[in-house]
């Protein structure tokens, strides 16, 4: 047993008692697939979101990235209760909002607002800008009717539009301006959490920067927390101090910005990041090594057993098909769901999750071994974590049978936990 006190960053001093603004635990959304015919039986389930846990602290941003169809938009829609979750809990400021009726949800609507992806369909073409931005004010009666117009003008000014344009129609604005109108509408109720569902992906690149900067300014000014859903890694890197990567309805890696972008430990994150064009590389010349994933994303109706990424993973072994890798914390602010998590090119040859799952190399449960009692679906980060580097050394004797790696055993431990002291 080792205590890795020297690996602990000294800067971390955040009080763990501080309540997160939003806490999502084990959130699931299955869409039923109905058979045709008179009696419409449910024949399958699309597992759009399957056990997602994360936290959004007040006043900061969590980025949610992943390719199309991985369930990131569904997650956003679940949090705004456009969809009802199949199971799991969503706590907003400690209050459960996952099972509220529309009427009970009403007070929380003020606190959680949403920015939509397509500025061309998110504004009612038959209403003037004043009506669109004023609707939330009127519905929640936050200001008296006479002052709605003044408030609308203020809001338009906040998002950088001419306040005198309140009687124009959305068709008279450009895409970027429309998105600003959508942001003004979302801000009207002064929410604490904004779910931004790909807010810039429908915009021109030059406009994207403007809108992202506007969102940054608004966050500084009003202290709004963001759940920033995007597939553009560069935008997320710019905007979010914490990023979660989703694949096929599950979070595969969640970490702070520096760790995720510089030292990704999940093969899928590595593949995603290697697809991002690098300007520096172009200046140096030569070709960067890129990870090319084979095949397509499997169907969420019938996802692969064990690890969902194994069908496209270049490191997949037997255990990946048998055991689903838990989202294991491997650093102070770093969780990853992979049996062989490690930096690219330095992946461990032996699973790091054996102790937690209580299984052997092949993925079959070891008699007598007890899986770690700790709930691995806990959102947020714990004070203790499993240290990958130690595990690599420790699990080596088990791996001696493998011809590739025969590092001598330094220490054989059943428990390898880093501890924050």
């Amino acid at each position: 047993m080792t205590t890795q006190s020297e690996a602990v960053p000294t800067t971390v001093s955040a009080a763990p008692t501080e309540q997160p603004l939003l806490e999502v635990t084990n959130l699931r959304k299955y869409f039923p697939v109905k058979s045709s015919g008179l009696v419409r039986r449910t024949i399958a389930q699309v597992q759009a979101v399957d056990g997602v846990s994360f936290q959004v602290p007040a006043g900061t941003s969590l980025g949610l990235v992943g390719e199309s169809g991985c369930g990131k938009s569904t997650t956003g829609r679940l949090i705004t209760r456009l969809l009802d979750p199949t199971s799991g809990s969503m706590k907003f400021e400690g209050h459960e909002i996952g099972n509220l009726s529309p009427k009970q949800m009403l007070p929380y609507r003020k606190e959680i607002q949403m920015i939509f992806q397509d500025p061309y369909s998110s504004l009612n073409p038959r209403h003037t800008v004043g009506t669109i931005v004023g609707t939330p004010l009127r519905v929640h009666k936050v200001v008296p009717e006479k002052q709605v117009l003044n408030r609308v003008r203020e809001l338009l000014e906040v998002v950088g539009l001419n306040p005198e344009h309140y009687n124009r129609y959305p068709s008279e604005f450009s895409g970027g301006q429309r998105q600003r109108i959508g942001i003004a509408r979302a801000l009207a109720l002064q929410p604490k959490l904004l779910v931004a569902d790909e807010p810039v992906s429908a915009l021109d690149v030059s406009i994207q920067a403007q809108v992202v900067n506007l969102l940054t300014d608004l966050q500084k000014e009003f202290g709004v927390a963001f759940l920033f859903i995007a597939h553009d890694l560069a935008v997320v890197r710019h905007f979010c101090p914490e990023v979660a990567v989703m694949y096929l309805g599950k979070i595969v890696e969640i970490a702070d910005r520096e760790t995720l972008y510089n030292r990704p430990h999940h093969p899928y994150t590595q593949a995603l990041l290697s697809a991002v064009p690098d300007v520096k590389q172009a200046a140096v010349g030569g070709r960067r090594e890129r990870i090319r994933l084979e095949g397509d994303v499997p169907s969420p109706v019938n996802p692969p057993s064990g690890c969902r990424f194994r069908t496209r993973c270049w490191m997949a072994k037997d255990i990946c098909a048998k055991q689903e890798p838990p989202l294991l914390q491997i650093g102070p602010k770093h969780k990853v769901a992979c049996h062989f998590a490690g930096e690219y090119g330095a992946m461990p040859t032996s699973p790091i999750t054996l102790n937690v799952l209580g299984v052997d190399q092949e993925g079959t449960p070891v008699a007598g071994a007890t899986p770690s009692a700790e709930d691995l679906n806990e959102p947020g980060f714990a004070d203790t974590w499993t240290d990958v580097e130690t595990l690599k050394g420790n699990s080596a004797p088990m791996a001696t049978s493998l011809p590739s790696d025969s590092r001598p055993a330094s220490e054989v431990g059943s428990e390898d936990r880093g501890t924050r002291s």
């Binding site: 829609r77 705004t80 456009l82 949800m105 009403l106 609507r109 003020k110 959680i112 607002q113 949403m114 939509f116 992806q117 397509d118 369909s121 998110s122 504004l123 009612n124 073409p125 038959r126 209403h127 003037t128 609707t135 939330p136 519905v139 929640h140 001419n162 005198e164 009687n167 124009r168 129609y169 068709s171 008279e172 959508g182 509408r185 109720l189």
Partner: protein, 336 residues
């Protein structure tokens, strides 16, 4: 425009004054009306429709000014014996005597009623019955369509089934069966009978006329409800009724206006047809009833038939052309 021109323009503008003050936003409805005003067919047909509406609206006034009467209930109206000759055809005016300004369209054989007066009152009846039926069926169709489109699951399926049921029921058979049933309940009271006839006619038209619009609106709502502005309203906590009538309904103006403008002439024609078949109105003058009477004496007295036939045709044609123009104006994408 050259740069110099632009500079000159800039100089002409008073400094500090916002340039875009004059640019006022136009609602899509206003744009459609402006488009409609430029359409010659629309202008002409709406003028014709307006003229016919005014004729119907001021029928009593025109008749009293002209000194003509649609029937002989008025003591001042000419007795049949005064204006009819022995063979029951009129003694003045067409078909056997020259044109007279006293009765421009002649007199009806047998009864001696003035044809112009009957025509004006007939237009009045036709238009009011058609308008009432159109308004009712539009309100019913739009509400049911909105609810069906927005409600998912069993309610939508139930409403769709009811729509299909009504669509599959034959209109003429239903009308033939339904009208006598309604009328027979009031047959004891003559005063109530004429009212019952109007109610029966309107309800027959409405019962068999709301489904097309309901289906149209349901389809439109199905596609609109997936648009993000509806979801934005839901996220804001806008109540469902407000979403239906404030967010969705304004986007359905075009299909509703188009459907209504094409339903109105259909109802005018249907009213005339039902009256011709004798299941429409009997107590009040109506175009279909006049046509029915005139068929018997067509060989001797063609004008008696042609006047109401041409009037119905002009009314229906003008309304249809106007409806087409309205569709083009509200939805320019479908323009041929």
């Amino acid at each position: 425009m050259t740069t110099a021109d632009l500079e000159q323009l800039e100089h002409e503008l008073p400094p500090g004054e916002p340039v875009d003050k004059k640019i006022a936003g136009k609602s899509p409805t206003r744009i459609a009306f402006e488009r409609l005003r430029k359409d010659k067919v629309a202008v002409i047909s709406s003028a014709v429709v307006l003229l016919l509406i005014l004729m119907g609206l001021f029928a009593p006034l025109i008749c009293s000014l002209w000194g003509i009467y649609p029937d002989n209930s008025d003591p001042a109206s000419p007795r049949p014996s005064e204006v009819l000759s022995f063979d029951t055809f009129p003694a003045i005016g067409p078909p056997y005597y020259p044109f007279t300004w006293e009765h421009p369209l002649g007199l009806a054989p047998r009864t001696g009623y003035d044809n112009l007066a009957r025509l004006l009152y007939g237009i009045r009846t036709s238009l009011s019955v058609a308008a009432a039926a159109t308004i009712l069926s539009t309100v019913i169709g739009v509400s049911i369509g909105l609810v069906a489109g927005f409600a998912r699951g069993w309610l939508d399926r139930l409403i769709s089934f009811v729509i299909d049921l009504f669509l599959s029921f034959p209109f003429l058979l239903g009308a033939l069966a339904l009208a006598p049933i309604i009328i027979s309940r009031f047959s004891t009271n003559l005063e109530a009978l004429s009212k019952a006839q109007v109610i029966a006619l309107v309800s027959v038209l409405v019962v068999f006329g709301w489904m097309a619009l309901a289906r149209l609106i349901r389809g439109q709502v199905l596609s609109l409800r997936e648009r993000e502005f509806v979801q934005a309203a839901q996220v804001m906590g806008v109540p469902t009724r407000r979403i239906l009538f404030k967010e969705l309904l304004p986007n359905l103006v075009a299909p509703i206006v188009v459907a209504t403008s094409l339903t109105l002439p259909a109802y005018v024609a249907a009213e005339a047809g039902l009256s011709y078949l004798g299941i429409g109105l009997t107590g009040v003058p109506s175009l279909g009833q006049t046509i029915n009477d005139a068929v018997n004496s067509y060989a001797e007295y063609p004008l008696y038939l042609w006047a109401p036939v041409v009037t119905v045709m002009v009314l229906v044609l003008a309304l249809n052309l106007l409806g087409d123009s309205i569709r083009d104006a509200f939805d320019p994408k479908t323009r041929r």
